[in-house]
Symmetry: C2
């Protein structure tokens, strides 16, 4: 049997895909109304189509609903942010923290993402020289979820100012799971196609983003 023909992606689709890349934002301000269960299921189904090293699918998703656990995540954020402020420009870091806290407090759907450190699936193929390709696979699952969410009008904010070891104990997951990211999801309170850090005058996209060195 011949392999199936690839679907024809046309100029119209490519234009919209480019628009999706432009409009994907790290969202920090959410409406608090919950996301429909069917919509959540569709997003998780897209997420599961992400590439993974050796087809190991090492990502592990944890939906965090319990108010006590959410409060513990918030405390972890505040403590980690306190440490981080010693390293970056203080005023800016405080404002940045406020944005992230808004996401934690408002977003109706919280997803923690972990990564198996030695999954049986995949037979170890492709990851012996660079074990971090497992974590990289989990990151591509997050990015797939991010794009699928944006195409449904759903925003995602990635919280990274967290102590990883503490997350493992707060969420009571196997100690061999590596913490990758904490995601806030919900309908955005506002829409924009310019990154919030750029709108706040903190940073702009640089010339290096699309530069290529020749060798």
């Amino acid at each position: 049997m011949p392999p199936p023909c690839p679907p024809p992606f046309d100029d119209g689709f490519r234009r919209h895909l480019h628009t999706l890349f432009c409009w994907r934002r790290d969202v920090r301000h959410f409406r608090t109304d919950p996301l429909p269960a069917l919509l959540q299921a569709r997003l998780l189904a897209s997420c599961a189509l992400a590439p993974s090293v050796g087809l190991s699918e090492p990502w592990r998703l944890v939906a965090v609903d319990d108010p006590d656990r959410r409060a513990a995540v918030r405390r972890n954020f505040l403590a980690s942010n306190h440490l981080a402020q010693q390293a970056v420009q203080a005023g800016r870091a405080q404002d940045y923290a406020r944005l992230k806290l808004a996401g934690l407090d408002q977003a109706p759907w919280h997803l923690a993402v972990f990564c198996e450190s030695d999954p049986a699936q995949g037979g170890g193929l492709g990851r012996q020289s660079m074990p971090e390709t497992l974590a990289f696979s989990a990151v591509m699952a997050i990015h797939t979820l991010w794009l699928a969410a944006r195409a449904e009008g759903v925003g995602l904010g990635w919280v990274s100012i967290l102590d990883a070891g503490t997350m493992t104990s707060i969420l009571d997951v196997p100690p061999e799971w590596r913490f990758i990211a904490y995601l806030c999801l919900g309908y955005p309170a506002a829409e924009d196609d310019v990154p919030e850090l750029e709108r706040a005058g903190w940073e702009v996209r640089g010339a290096s983003g699309a530069a290529v060195l020749q060798r």
Copy 2:
């Protein structure tokens, strides 16, 4: 001035996006004809729209054309693969290596991806607790490139069986750049919507891919 309205992504676009996720493949067999320069430029422009921690855009791309450097990358792959075979099922690892070698030998466009270990851009925001979010940003740039490529009918294969330190010296890049991935790009020699590892009977997508733990 009010922020711009978000573009309306409709059901048709979402269906095509899902199809794109389904058809994105780790491609190993390429036609050897080069990719048009304008197409390469479009793909790099999409890649530059990827999310990054603190808007740091830490990815650094290196196009590898020099035959001697390509040969050195191939030798690095063979040496790393020899070591990897001691850890995974030998016959399977050999077949897997053969697939990856085919990609290295046939693909017209080779891109090495590195990551700045302490970029000035972004002011250090968001990455103090988890410095690996810099590498994660580079991975999302790769995934953006991967999807944009697939939408243009271009295949991408990720080679991860490489010694990272050796890559830095082969490609003569700053020693503080961390090696992330070596990408082979070109028109696929064949198309399929089932992962090659699954077609070869080595691995299948598992139930864990879309599973969510409740906490």
